[in-house]
Symmetry: C2
Subunit: 177 residues, 2 copies
Amino acid sequence: MARNSQAARITKSRAGIRPRPGRTRSGNGSVHNDLMNDEIGLDALAGHAGYAVRRFQIWIFQDFIRTLAAVDIRPTQYSVMTVIGANPGLSQMAVAKRLGIERARLVHLLDSLEHRDLVSRIKSATDRRSHALHLTARGRTALAQFKRLAAEHERHVAEKIGKENRERLLQILSAFT
Amino acid sequence: MARNSQAARITKSRAGIRPRPGRTRSGNGSVHNDLMNDEIGLDALAGHAGYAVRRFQIWIFQDFIRTLAAVDIRPTQYSVMTVIGANPGLSQMAVAKRLGIERARLVHLLDSLEHRDLVSRIKSATDRRSHALHLTARGRTALAQFKRLAAEHERHVAEKIGKENRERLLQILSAFT
DNA sequence: TATTGTTATACTCTATAACTATA
DNA sequence: TATAGTTATAGAGTATAACAATA
């Protein structure tokens, strides 16, 4: 699933040119006449940050999901539990705003976490419209494990792009957190 | 929709602490008791590249869609047209593999571009299973305009994160293109 | 009147599976 | 048997709108 992960060299020089299809041998040994992946120029795409960011985001989420597959936690669920764990008592609106999730979607996310006894909604005494969100005892224990696995995922990221590059990236994008 | 765009300061020091809700005044002047966005600590999330990358990707795609709204072209449509324009005659499989799009999804993307007379499928003479993809005359003219608008979008990115940071980002993520 | 949580709808995107026509 | 294109389905994720309870 991690296509192109090793294909760092981009043949920009051939962009815009119609290369003659070379008879080549692909990874699994099959013979075909198609252009190989790294023979297909990206043209203007190579200069767009959004394209690279999208490809990277897909890779990183797939690695996160794979690394936390045993505990069945996805990136958004992890982010919700982490924020509630660090700020118990938050309302659903506050969590949704902080993480940039639609409040309508957070309803379903919390339903699933509540059914798994990881999070609980407690009626607010001061504003009876809102719920104060807390981790359950089970949720606190589980989150500690999730964080260990997420740290392992983060090491995969560092291996992939380099320790220093990862830190530079975090710094460059700090305005978006 | 660009929440937190200016909120560069993160109060990591308060993460894990339950701050007393301060009576504060939000941007639109309404008074409330909730934690303000930058009072809510991200805890472990602040150290995860994936979280920042996801937030950035959302911002960048929204800006792209907004900047190209007049021509009704979305990021994926742009990437498909750009690759076909630079490599005419590619098969659907080749485009799908190169861009990391499911071949099933590319079918619908091409349907819409073909209906708008921007792309055409031409039956391959050598392999009658596959289609050779080309831009139409209208597609070539349109793509030139799309590229001008996309370059404008790219300037927005440079303004947002800084010219040098944008270039560093492209370099760091070059392995994913 | 406005806000919180909720329900519902629609559209995009990702991930599969299965079908057809070719190879 | 395998591959290219297609159709279909299901689940995330995004974007809205509307409603009840409450402020």
